[in-house]
Symmetry: C2
Subunit: 173 residues, 2 copies
């Protein structure tokens, strides 16, 4: 069950979750440790689209996977491993039926992105900084603040796709 | 039923379908008329993400809605109408369970983009060129070739969202 719970967090998170919460008692300490110095990359919402996904169950969201230039290059060139500097972002929104479509069909047919949901997650490749987790750092931000699961928990599932350099998503052409 | 069928094509297509097939007998004639001189915009796959969606039923896809700079600007500035030159692209892929996730959970939990599906669709704003359809032209390309429904059929549903300048999708922040 614990394994399943970990998988729920990580496999279903697809692009990775984050962040080892520190033993420090203060919120600021926790957040600093959680982000491991990783801050939200500037302009990530303008990055190019890698793929899209839908999570069922408690996550119940629609998500876009975005990549900075190094990540997109890695995907498109089908590299075995991503170069240092590659960052993959996972944005997500509530999974809601499109009202006009539901009215027309009498049932939910079209599902679209509602308000933001489940935070924003990043995987950043830095093989020197994150040697223990496949060269990837993982970070999650909720309402702009670090939070989420530990990088080790993320990595425990991302190991399943070691052959794809620990990245669940494939590039959608 | 006909109305429902039209809605299936257009509401569910979300970003619009295309293309009035000509009476001409030749395939080339049909395609030329279908695209109305509209060709696939260069580099559209690199455009920024507007939103994501999932269609059930026979369409059964995951889709990304992308916009050129003018379209993104229109969305972000919450303009009442989009400026001429705005183009919205709808890319779509098969809706497939992520194998690793299904194995872990014993049921489909994570759905990801499979191979491309249902063509690529565009809405292009040109109020002088397309006055009869709200100032928007509609085009669909299947495997790079024009095809799909007529712009009038698209527009018959897009009229439902006249208040949003005939655009079903909202920007996902």
């Amino acid at each position: 069950m614990k394994r399943i719970a970990l998988l729920l967090v990580t496999v279903s998170a697809v692009a990775g979750v984050a962040v080892s919460l520190a033993a420090g008692s203060g919120q600021a300490d926790k957040e600093a440790a959680a982000s491991r110095g990783f801050t939200i990359p500037s302009g990530y919402r303008d990055w190019r689209l890698i793929s899209v996904a839908h999570e069922e169950g408690t996550l119940n969201d629609l998500r876009g996977i975005l990549g900075n230039d190094a990540a997109i290059k890695g995907f498109r060139e089908k590299r075995q491993t991503f170069p240092d500097g590659a960052i993959i972002a996972r944005v997500a929104w509530d999974y809601v039926p499109l009202e006009e479509s539901s009215k027309a069909f009498g049932h939910a047919q079209s599902f679209v992105a509602g308000p933001p949901k489940n935070g924003v997650q990043f995987m950043v490749k830095d093989s020197k900084k994150y040697p223990a987790t496949g060269g990837w750092g993982f970070a999650q931000f909720n309402d702009g603040k670090p939070g989420g699961e530990s990088a080790e928990i993320c990595f425990s599932c991302h190991q399943i796709v070691k052959a794809r350099d620990f990245v669940f998503n494939r590039y959608a052409p």
